[in-house]
């Protein structure tokens, strides 16, 4: 409902924009009637709510196809980018955070804390351009922009996706590494760590099996919270790297004042965010057998 009200209380008139500058008032009125925008706002809301519940997000004013279809078409690049980013972030951040906690106060720890402040501060798009300039233009290792569907060759797909994913993962790495460090540090102070060491377990096993496993819940939680940052980052990253995903669709829809598409995308993203966090709540059962729902 918030989304609906937010989008309709606007001075911008999509009918006027669609009709173009040369349109007469009659033509604009015709388009407005065709879109159902001439009816009272309460009626519009009733129709809208009924459709959302049945999974119908309406038809795009601009692309003239169903919003649900449109989102479906643009899903693959965004999904691929997000998955790869999370993968890179978790694989880099968790070991780094763990090692930083293990050597608390050492050079790796200080470097990581410095990096995390830096990671939070460098805007995604600035980083994107620095990486494009360095990796693609100066070194010529990877393509500058664009996207190749996974069906058109996995290697090409990977080649186009790696730079955007690395760009996007930096802030995520900063976030996850920080929390991993803090929670592993806390776990390392517990009695059972001393017991494990006293038993003569190898240090690696103490770290992973005893410290990290007990520190898992906050780490998994922050991965879920980070999805919000990730979604925001996707919008920016897709614009910079010219990836035809949902993020680009959002920006294009705003510029075209295509309300059904804007609200469709926002509802979709919010749904994903809530769903992922619900899954993460459920995953606590695996990571901490003491938790029961």
């Amino acid at each position: 409902m918030l989304v609906f009200l937010l989008l309709r209380l606007t001075p911008g008139d999509p009918a006027a924009i669609m009709a173009g500058d040369a349109a007469t008032a009659e033509q604009i009125e015709q388009i407005r009637a065709g879109l159902g925008l001439d009816r009272p706002i309460v009626v519009q809301f009733g129709i809208w709510l009924g459709r959302i519940v049945s999974g119908d997000l309406g038809e795009s004013y601009y692309f003239r196809i169903k919003v649900a279809t449109l989102i479906g078409q643009r899903l693959e690049p965004t999904f691929a980018l997000a998955t790869m980013t999370i993968l890179i972030a978790v694989l880099v951040a968790v070991p780094l955070g763990m090692l930083a906690a293990w050597r608390f106060g050492g050079w790796l720890d200080r470097a990581l804390m410095g990096f995390s402040v830096l990671g939070f501060s460098i805007p995604v798009f600035v980083l994107a351009y620095v990486l494009i300039w360095l990796v693609s233009l100066q070194l010529g290792w990877l393509p500058v922009q664009g996207y190749v569907r996974i069906a058109d060759g996995f290697f090409l797909f990977l080649k186009h996706l790696i730079l955007p994913a690395v760009t996007l993962s930096v802030i995520y790495i900063a976030l996850i590494a920080r929390v991993t460090r803090a929670s592993v540090l806390e776990a390392l102070g517990e009695d059972y760590i001393r017991t494990a060491r006293a038993k003569g377990l190898p240090e690696m096993r103490v770290l992973v099996r005893h410290a990290l496993a007990n520190a898992a819940v906050p780490i998994v939680t922050v991965i879920g919270i980070g999805i919000a940052i990730l979604i925001g980052g996707v919008v920016v990253t897709e614009s910079v790297y010219a990836i035809p995903g949902l993020g680009r669709l959002t920006v294009d829809a705003v510029l075209a004042r295509d309300f059904p598409t804007i609200q469709g995308v926002i509802i979709f993203f919010s749904f994903i965010y809530v769903a992922v966090n619900l899954l993460i709540d459920l995953s606590y059962l695996v990571f901490d057998p003491r938790i029961r729902y």
Partner: protein
Amino acid sequence: MKVLDNWSVRIGGGVLALLIVLSLAAPWLGTVDPTLFDAASRDLRPGQAGEITTLEGDTVKHVFLMGSDSFGRDIYSRVVYGTRVSLVVGLAAALVALVFGVLCGLAAGYIRWLDGILMRLMDGIMAIPAILIAIAVVALWRASVPTVIIAIAIPEIPRVTRLVRSLVLSIREEPYVEAAVSLGTPTGKIMFGHILPNTVAPLLVQATYVCAFAILLEAILSFLGVGLPPDIPTWGNIMAEGRVQFVAYPHNVFFPGVFLAVTVLAVNMLGDGLRDTLDPKMAKRV
């Protein structure tokens, strides 16, 4: 003072002070009007000399320290004047978020029946990623300085509200609040006179983070082309204009990018330093 002994505060605050001086002294730093352009001086590289036409129609010689863009505008002048816009928008958005957040947080924490309604509303806002809310709000009301400030502030309100609410919930159980209540002090006076002053330290820390995020978000909106109108020189707008020919002229994107990154970094460092000195309990938690 203890706060000034902290190196994060010193460096962050110092850089920030420098940026404020820079933005105030913009007209005297060898800049020209940031909206001036000259077709003869298009796409100059940093350090090249060229000419620029003033509003009176005179052509004057000018050295383009950071080069020029595809309209022949001076990037250096635009970046320096852009500092003003970024700092003002960032501060204003943080202030708006803080005022509404504090009001909502105090109400939710102290007035029981409002708690449920307010916090569900805040949960609703938090379920939508910040950038999407800001984009949606800007799409609604056409971009101008006040609408962009509000658009950036809205997603930050729940964070401030939650912080204030949690602080109020613990402060309201303190003996001095109980004393004030039993003396018959009006609710308003308890909320603003007894509880609010005790939330200042954590709030100040939170405010710096909100400010950093606001500066970042403003740049992102402008960069995507949905932020402030393109004729206002902001770092995001300069980058948006320069991205089209990034491959040939990377300086259009780099200089504002560096300023933006340094500013946000300085504000974040200031926040970290303040947190460590003012609010040691919170420092241990994060």
